[in-house]
Amino acid sequence: MIALIDYGAGNLTSVGKALAHLDAPATTPTSPTDLASADGLIVPGVGNFEVTAALGADWRAAIDTHIAKGRPVLGICVGMQWLFDGSTEAPGHPGLALMPGTCSLITDQEAATSDQSRGASDRVGGRLKVPHVGWNTLRVTKPSWLLDGIDAGAQVYFTHSFAAPVTDDCVGATRYGMEFAAAVERDLVAGVQFHPEKSSDVGLRILRNFLQKAS
């Protein structure tokens, strides 16, 4: 059984539908003690980093226990950012600190040079639009269980303004004004900045990789 953590920011419906499509039953635990029976945990999420504050010390302890039992966790979007130390979006709200680093606003750090062929720039009218919305290339940077079987150059669907830094935990990176971590993995803890539940076959494959770890 997969537990989908609901902290009120949810794309729970979409993630739940994708899991149902993959024949993986999911529940939405109402209290941290419900996590004890979960084979895998998914922390979805959209919106502001601040919403993660809804998950207090008792939830954090239950997630730590789940990981200590050797069971996998997947954070999606803000759920992935939550795995880090925190985000400049909500400085007062620490993350789970399972991975070092702080998430920050996407900024245009790349000079407008090579990508200026006709219509082919990330800049529209000379500037970078933030949020980053749409399909972008996931560059696999390291072997991982999470991105197993994903082709080089596969595209996935993003919608976000803040992003995680490229660190040792990064297994897939994406460029938009700057390079950021699109997929991270440390042992059984993984996260994706994009929405696998909205990334068609590529996304379903990634969810299947997670389910395999959880079985």
Binding site: A18, R118, G203
Partner: protein
């Protein structure tokens, strides 16, 4: 590189896709889920369900249709038409929509944009604008393009973005249904004025029209309906065409 998105619009009435659909190859004529599945297979990037009768007849978008489509495809799904207030948006999102398009209601009560953005995140709030050229400016029409207003499309798009809209779905009333091309001037005027993505709509007739709207029009995404209905190769062929013009697209 971020791809330019190609979005298919399903004009839905009473649970069926209507308006110039070639139903060849579909088992159930006009079935939205089946058509969406076909588009997904062909490589469409996103799907919009537009309940075309909803605004006029004050009906909400059909939850059953949304549910059926959301069960079959794992792509961003936007629902518009008849979203008059928070309860309609809630029903659409609970049925499986990722984004809701608000048009008439957003102009009538702009605070709806902010309250929906607070509740679901800006990425879920698309402000749809129907604009028509009048006296040298782009004037907004509401109620499915039937009622003129005094509002300017560029100014309203900026206000909508300030209020928390995540994207603008911009339809040219002049071009809609003509198949003579998008209104690139309108699209460019809005796209260069707002920090959020602009989806161009209205007028797609040839693949070159998409090239134009992504270059001259500075669009982030382009939406069409009938051009995709007629041929099972249309989406893939369009993307190949765009790629030969150096426009980044997702190839599946």
């Amino acid at each position: 590189m971020l791809s330019k998105r190609i979005i298919a619009c399903l004009d839905v009435r009473d649970g069926s896709v209507v308006k110039g659909v070639n139903f060849e190859g579909l088992r159930h004529a006009g079935d939205p889920a089946e058509l969406a599945t076909r588009y997904n297979r062909e490589g469409i990037d996103e799907v919009v369900i537009l309940d075309i009768t909803a605004t006029i007849e004050k009906r909400k978008a059909l939850a059953d249709t949304i549910q059926a489509v959301a069960r079959e495809i794992f792509l961003p799904l936007c629902v518009g038409g008849g979203i008059r207030g928070e309860e309609h948006a809630e029903a659409a999102i609970e049925a499986g929509a990722d984004k809701v398009g608000i048009n008439t209601a957003a102009l009538a009560q702009p605070e709806l944009i902010t309250s929906l953005a607070k509740r679901y995140g800006s990425q879920a709030v698309i402000v749809a604008i129907d604009a028509k050229r009048e006296a040298g400016r782009f004037k907004i029409y509401v109620r499915s393009g039937q009622q003129g207003t005094e509002r300017d499309a560029v100014e309203w798009a900026q206000e909508a973005a300030d209020r928390g809209a995540g994207e603008i779905l911009l339809t040219s009333i002049d071009q809609d249904g003509t198949k003579t091309g998008f209104d690139c001037e309108l699209t460019s005027a809005v796209s260069s004025a707002v920090p959020i993505p602009v989806i161009a709509s209205g007028g797609a007739g040839t693949f070159d029209h998409f090239v134009d709207v992504f270059t001259t029009g500075q669009a982030d995404a382009a939406l069409a309906a009938s051009i995709f209905h007629y041929s099972e190769r249309a989406v893939a062929d369009l993307k190949t065409h765009l790629r030969t013009h150096d426009i980044p697209v997702r190839i599946t």
